[in-house]
Symmetry: C2
């Protein structure tokens, strides 16, 4: 592995490769190929080989990839060979669904706490959590050393929450609110908005 | 507008521009610029100008963009100057959150029905909907002429559901299940998986 920066678009495909490899392990597949991965993912085999080659040598010409080895290496590269505690901000429908989501286990993440500012929700149970008062968020998140958070508040509150998360030391934010966030350069944001995904498809519909 | 195909990466940015413009309208902004849009979105002004120029002339050098006009044109380009009925498959936490989500209104989409295969959930109320039996899905979706659907079932069931949606005539699928789907070429799929978003960020964390 060398130290020239990898394009973010390449980084963005690694989690898809990792997800497919995890599935192959569950299915009992020991060996795979860029062809097979490509068919599963709808990505060309050449693209997959090129992407992986930026991080090292993971397979031998003609013998394919050892599924478990490649899986483990990708976990190391994506830094999910550990578990990241996360704070969820917003205990509405989406925040609650995220807090109860069983799909984080074995993929490197764990919801550790959930906050809301609604007096009715504060103290209520959501999944395994008692909803904490958002007024305590900066202090509590910082004290816990949490640097990954998910924002699931209304669009109008999202930037304010993001500002406070940054104050608390958060470095990675997954934003469910349908609004772009401004954060310092050393803070990473990913947006997930069903409508932008849907609109990207309706463009192509007749 | 000419007819050379626009790169999908450009198409994928249009919903972000539209979302920002919708917000500007709410805020009462009448005129904007590629600079202002760029700052809101963390995209360069040059990129925005280049993207928009692929679809026509929307502003005059030096006077910026008429927010409402550009907004309306983007809605036409993305085909959301109408409302698309959607079927939600899966009435678990995520499917239910989606069915209750208030953020589709005014953005071109409306949940029309929700399905599940769990006898306990079938017939129950989720938001404004009575959960329908998934066994009737192909027939009901087809009869309603619905071509946009969201899959929110466990990963192990998602491909089977996708196959049935394709049979029903669905052409655009937003997939919340953490698994890649194989569909015919004329069917569009977008995936939304919080873990892949999160892993794309942890790569950069120390």
């Amino acid at each position: 592995m060398d130290h020239k920066p990898i394009p973010d678009i390449v980084v963005g495909r690694l989690p898809l490769y990792l997800r497919s490899l995890q599935r192959m392990i569950k299915e009992g597949n020991l060996v795979t190929s860029s062809q097979e991965l490509g068919e599963r993912l709808g990505i060309s085999a050449a693209q997959i080989r090129k992407d992986l080659s930026q991080f090292g040598e993971f397979g031998k010409q003609g013998t394919g990839y050892d599924v478990e080895y490649l899986h483990d290496q990708l976990k190391i590269i994506l830094k999910v060979n550990r578990v990241w505690d996360m704070a969820v901000i917003g205990a509405g429908d989406i925040g609650s669904a995220v807090a109860r989501y069983q799909g984080f286990a074995d993929r490197g993440f764990r919801v550790a706490m959930i906050f809301d500012n609604d007096p009715v929700k504060i103290g209520a149970q959501v999944g395994d959590f008692i909803v904490k008062d958002k007024a305590t968020m900066v202090e509590v998140v910082q004290a816990a050393g949490i640097i990954v958070a998910m924002i699931a508040v209304p669009a109008s509150q999202a930037q304010h929450v993001a500002d406070n998360l940054v104050k608390a030391g958060v470095k990675a934010i997954l934003n469910y609110a349908p609004v772009s966030l401004n954060v310092p350069e050393d803070v990473h944001v990913q947006h997930t908005d069903p409508v932008t995904h849907l609109q990207r498809m309706t463009y192509y519909l007749e």
